[in-house]
Symmetry: C2
């Protein structure tokens, strides 16, 4: 999606004129606005019908001082999408139209004399543009302030309010409403109250004279009638554009609102700087100018306030500018900012349910979402969904689940025994204190007064592309066990993911041996008790974008599962009650960052064989497509059974937030997950697979839709080139993630990392 | 709000016919549907225009087998709200209309022969009913499945989609779309694709003949033309109602969708029972029948699936039934379920922003909400807002804030020192493990493996009405200190709240003495360190609706604040840097349950003098008016300074969820909080104050709007009556909360409690 500034200037006021319906008087009212404005520009992006009757000519005729322009003119008097079909070669695309409007407005903004610009739409708010896209969507990237022309006719109250609501759903601000007076239907009385309650001024204007030529005489042209029409219109315009008509007051209202909007943008940073306590932010030395004031967002871009660099030039420099959302807003975005379908979905669930209590309640959004995710997560162990609000609470729930199951089976007394967790160094599972305790002590979490790291964290081999070669780099302990071998090269990333093949190689045995020795030391020698194995599958996001050798995670799970005596040596080992039961330890996958198509798999578990898929999974972030907080913890039947083996209420899982499984979040999540599944099914991302096709023997095959399971939207040759740059230590890419580790010549042991993310909405916009 | 079942029967299919605009052919299309249906009922709730031309007569004439009825007929051919104004005495209220429709449909459902009922609206979706309420809102309590008649005319694509979106925002399900064909504008082609993508069938029908009488001959009546019109219409109806027209297929589609909906309702409980892990629920022995299947919600009521009791009778018994939301969905609801303004607000913020990252970002919803709450919380100490997702995370943040501040000032090493919190017995602050640790050990939290209660919890005096008398009941330790005095009676609840007066009474000194002795024992004798005082102001909700004597909380805060040596005896006591600085300990108010008008105060802090208002406050639940998870932690400047005294990043407050300050939540919260403030300002609740007016000397005065600060929507005489019932041990009420403690004759020391809540949306519906 092309990115440009949402048009906003200090001096030039720009409005988009939308109509509640067709034939409600948009052009007449816009002509009046042009006449009354000190100096206006009139822009008609798309016009249909004979050019001799085009709206820009009408404006030019009756408001001669106005600069007028029409971008695309189709002669047929039909909807632009039909006209454009007939002339497909002339038909502009959505991006072209929007970009052309932007260019013209930018030029007008540089004209000192120009005070107002009005961009007139065609038909109603949802009348299709040439490509068939509804105008309300087509023009949304500009998000111009709206002047809405209401419908004065019978039924006009309804069409006006419905049009207004459709604009709201797309995040437009309606700055004023204009409507013709009608003494019989009196729509303006009703609408005046309606909009006043919403702080939107409405102005009712005298109706223009009936046109003789069209209405009464049909198609037979009559020069005389035409002349009389023209004269009547001229008199009308003169009368209604007089100061007493209220149009002057309306323009003043608009100016006040324009100034207020800019004033808010100017002061928001200092207000925020005084009143907001920012997450993960050191406020010491923080200046208001460091804050990004976000006016709106669309697709992959924010529209942010631009501090004027030079005062003198400020009136014609854009108040807003686009900023690329490089981290996909903390890795939440799947379908792009300001997605109208998700917005409407949120409204539907809010209108149908609001929030309804989930204690023993069942509603369609929660039940359908649970079924959808359980079905497609491709892990036969997972049968239950527990809802909560964010990744951190989903992991709190996961920890409660796993510890209960293990303490129960191993007959540990959690009140007196210190039960810990197993994990990987650099892991991170959230900011609530219980989940912080699942991560090893570090500079950061040790500052939290109640933090007590409760676990053991393995160092692990990492996947990197180094100087064009896919490599697994061993940590010291493993290199030592491997007789000083520090790394292993592979011909492709797919080879590294060929877990079942590699398991029986020397490295599979090496990993297993290392893990077994470590556990024996911890449990038998040190007497420690571990109640869960917690892993972020494949990539540790918050820990600095570390790509774990999948074979290591596989061997860790397999070793724990096959050797329960490593966890509790003093008990007879119960055989698993079924192939879906947990053995050794409950395995938790924290898929908050890595789940739901981050790597173009529904779940990263599917990079692993069934035997090493988890007993418990936490999902969040991408779950709602980037709109709202919602999370789920999936669990296996025997984890669930650990809480329901007795009828005692206090044995239940004691967790549940007020807005558990809120219908708005569940409904939007179901829409978003379904949409991403459709994109996968329809091959929306196939173009990105090409550079990864010949990635490895036995895994990838070439045909119409290449069957590649390990790939990234970042092409392999880009990685190769990057990895050969002198300043780069290593790179890797998987799914949507690209990580570049720079050499730090000052402290070579501590490479800087630069995680990068493509389009936040690439899942759609690149599809 | 009257409550009744949302009409849904197994046999009778009921649809509401909405038009995209007026004059789109609703009546003709409904007549066709009636003709094709085996046996239909036609209901026109409100009709305007001459009764000789009324829609029900038209239907009767051309579909003679149809049962027709019109509820309210106004002769003027204008919008019902204008017609009703002229005949105010005849004009029905919204509730009456809806109730009448419900009654007729219920009667028809009992008629074995009846297969379909069509309720035809007037004009467009938002055309006002007699009271002026938009029809889409007026009829929403019924939430009938919708047949939408699209607009075939120029502009009709836009008006149809806008109407559809307005219906969605109110939680309606559109089950099919019908539209007249128009070869020139071809709206049906576009709309067919549009609705197919949304899984909604669309049927295009031949247009009826032009009416000679109205269109061509103006008002001059002509019997001949009338006759010809009638004959043409009759021929049209015959032709279009033939099986080949597609109407039969459409009815089949509708039947399939009707069956599917009921099928989903029937199976949802068993699906949920298999796949959902419910919060705070013991699943052992839980049957699917124990689950409440919620189809929709509105105001204070859910519409829930009714398991048919007797098979034989099931076709005419209602599939849905209303259930009162007695706990206001875990105390979240402020403005009622399915509130269309909040739904639209959610959509606006979603359309304008989606979610945008809040790390150093500033957006209007978050900044405005922060300012609004800081300003009106009436606590000069609070200047900063930290956003998170729910009450539990807000309290995790509060604990992190307070412990940092106290450890820093008292130079404790949190890594080695065990720093605890002070609180009250029975308190509860959330389900994440860090906040669980803030509550005393109990049957419940001790089952959580990582729970370690870290604190000391005071027993406290409770407020109750016992046998008609407002009483403060002391716990054993206090009664002992009070020389065996177990309780104190007051002439009114307001007297109990006269904190400044009572402070200097014997009981103020008694409380202070008791608190001081306890702290000296804990700190000096036992050597314990306390880093925060955490209180739920006035009422401990989750702990069993315990009403704390406000004087006790006041004295606790005052004692801690004035005697820092009680907290850390070994350090020289730094004087407070300003009157807004914390001394002794940071005081945290957990207002998650009690805040934002639960007690008809913006904040329960305002029941206390400024001197005992908190340094840190957590808000959630009612914050978004009952729609979405969002929470905030408010803090004072010197709490904030504890994290920004050094520029080190790791000294910052290390907390922040992915959806921190999500714009949808902040925007909806700002709307909801503003609405509640307006209701307070406009005296929306004044009627409830009356029974509390003469509640105490010096506090309450009687005038036009009684200035009562301590009151409840539950009248005092109800409390008196309840408290005198033999089975009742005690009662109390404050704000929206009524608590009744029953005598338990089996174990008299353990009274059962029965917390009760009034209308979940009383804030609006009783206003």
């Amino acid at each position: 999606m092309t990115s440009f500034a949402s048009p906003l200037w200090r001096k030039l006021q720009v409005y988009q004129v939308y109509g509640a319906n067709t034939n409600v008087g948009k052009t007449v009212i816009t002509t009046l606005l042009c006449k009354v404005a000190p100096r206006a520009g009139f822009l008609k992006p798309v016009s249909t019908g004979p050019s001799s009757e085009a709206d820009d000519r009408h404006v030019k005729q009756f408001s001669p001082g106005t600069v007028t322009q029409c971008l695309y003119q189709f002669e047929e008097p039909v909807s632009p999408h039909i006209a454009a079909t007939a002339h497909a070669s002339q038909a502009p695309g959505d991006a072209e139209i929007v970009s052309s409007i932007h260019n013209i407005l930018t030029r007008w903004a540089k004209d000192e004399a120009m005070s107002h610009a009005f961009v007139e739409t065609a038909g109603g708010v949802h009348s299709p543009g040439p490509s068939g896209t509804s105008q309300a969507d087509l023009y949304r990237p500009l998000r111009l302030p709206v002047v809405l022309v209401a419908d004065f006719r019978l039924g006009g109250i309804s069409s006006t309010i419905a049009a207004y609501e459709s604009l709201l759903v797309r995040g437009y601000d309606v700055e004023s409403v204009l409507v013709f007076e009608d003494a019989y239907y009196r729509n303006s009385d009703y609408l005046m109250d309606y909009f006043a309650a919403r702080d939107i001024p409405l102005l009712a204007l005298q109706r223009p004279p009936e046109r003789l030529r069209r209405e009464s005489l049909g198609n037979s042209s009559s020069d005389d009638a035409f002349q009389r029409d023209q004269q009547a219109m001229a008199r009308y315009y003169e009368a209604v554009s007089r100061p007493s008509s209220g149009l002057g007051g309306l323009l003043s209202d608009l100016s006040v609102r324009h100034e207020r909007r800019i004033g808010e943008l100017e002061t928001m940073a200092s207000t925020a700087h005084k009143s907001i306590w920012y997450p993960f932010t050191q406020h010491n030395g923080l200046k208001p100018e460091s804050l990004t004031v976000i006016d709106s967002a669309r697709g992959d871009h924010f529209q942010v306030f631009q501090q004027p660099a030079v005062k003198a030039d400020s009136s014609s420099s854009s108040v807003l500018g686009p900023v690329y959302d490089g981290s996909a807003s903390w890795w939440t975005q799947g379908l792009g900012h300001g997605n109208p379908e998700l917005a409407l979905g949120a409204a539907y669930a809010a209108g149908r349910y609001g929030h309804v209590m989930f204690a023993l309640g069942a509603h369609k959004p929660a039940i359908e979402l649970a079924g959808l995710v359980l079905q497609h997560t491709a892990n036969e162990r997972l049968v239950r969904v527990f809802y909560s609000d964010n990744g951190s609470t989903a992991m709190e729930v996961a920890v409660k689940m796993a510890l209960r199951a293990s303490c129960q089976r191993y007959r540990w007394n959690a009140g007196t025994d210190e039960v810990e967790i197993l994990g990987l160094k650099g892991s991170y599972h959230g900011d609530t204190i219980g989940t912080m305790d699942c991560s090893e002590p570090s500079t950061f979490n040790q500052k939290v007064e109640w933090y007590r790291g409760r676990g053991y964290w393995f160092d692990f081999p990492q996947v990197k592309m180094v100087r064009g070669s896919w490599t697994v780099v061993f940590p010291d302990q493993l290199a030592h066990a491997a007789h000083g071998n520090e790394r292993e090269s592979f011909s492709s990333l797919a080879d590294i993911f060929n877990i079942e093949h590699r398991e029986h190689s020397g490295f599979g045995r090496l990993y297993a041996y290392f893990i077994q020795q470590t556990l024996e030391n911890l449990v038998k020698k040190q007497g420690r008790k571990f109640g869960a194995l917690i892993l972020e599958p494949l990539v540790l996001g918050a820990g600095g974008m570390l790509f774990v050798d999948p074979l290591f995670q596989h061997m860790l799970i397999k070793t724990v599962r096959q050797n329960p005596e490593l966890i509790e040596p003093s008990l007879p080992i119960p055989g698993p009650s079924s192939s879906k039961s947990w053995t050794g330890l409950p395995i938790i996958f924290d898929e908050v960052f890595t789940g739901l198509y981050r790597f173009y798999h529904f779940s990263p578990s599917t990079f692993f064989p069934q035997a090493s898929r988890p007993d418990i999974v936490a999902n969040a972030k991408l779950l709602t497509g980037g709109l709202l907080p919602l999370s789920m913890t999936l669990a296996s039947e025997d984890i669930f059974d650990a809480f329901s083996s007795s009828p005692a209420k206090e044995q239940a899982l004691l967790h549940g937030h007020s807005y558990t499984a809120h219908p708005v979040g569940c409904h939007v999540a179901r829409m978003s997950v379904t949409k991403m599944m459709e994109m996968e099914r329809d091959g929306a991302w196939d173009q990105f697979k090409e550079s990864w096709v010949d990635a490895g023997p036995g895994v990838a095959t070439v045909d119409a839709a290449p069957r590649v399971t390990v790939w990234s939207i970042w092409p392999q040759n880009l990685l190769t080139a990057l990895s050969n740059a002198a300043s780069v230590e290593s790179v890797w890419a998987l799914g949507t993630v690209l990580s570049i580790v720079l050499c730090d010549h000052d402290s070579p042991g501590e490479p800087n990392f630069l995680p990068a993310c493509p389009d936040s909405s690439f899942l759609s916009s690149r599809g």
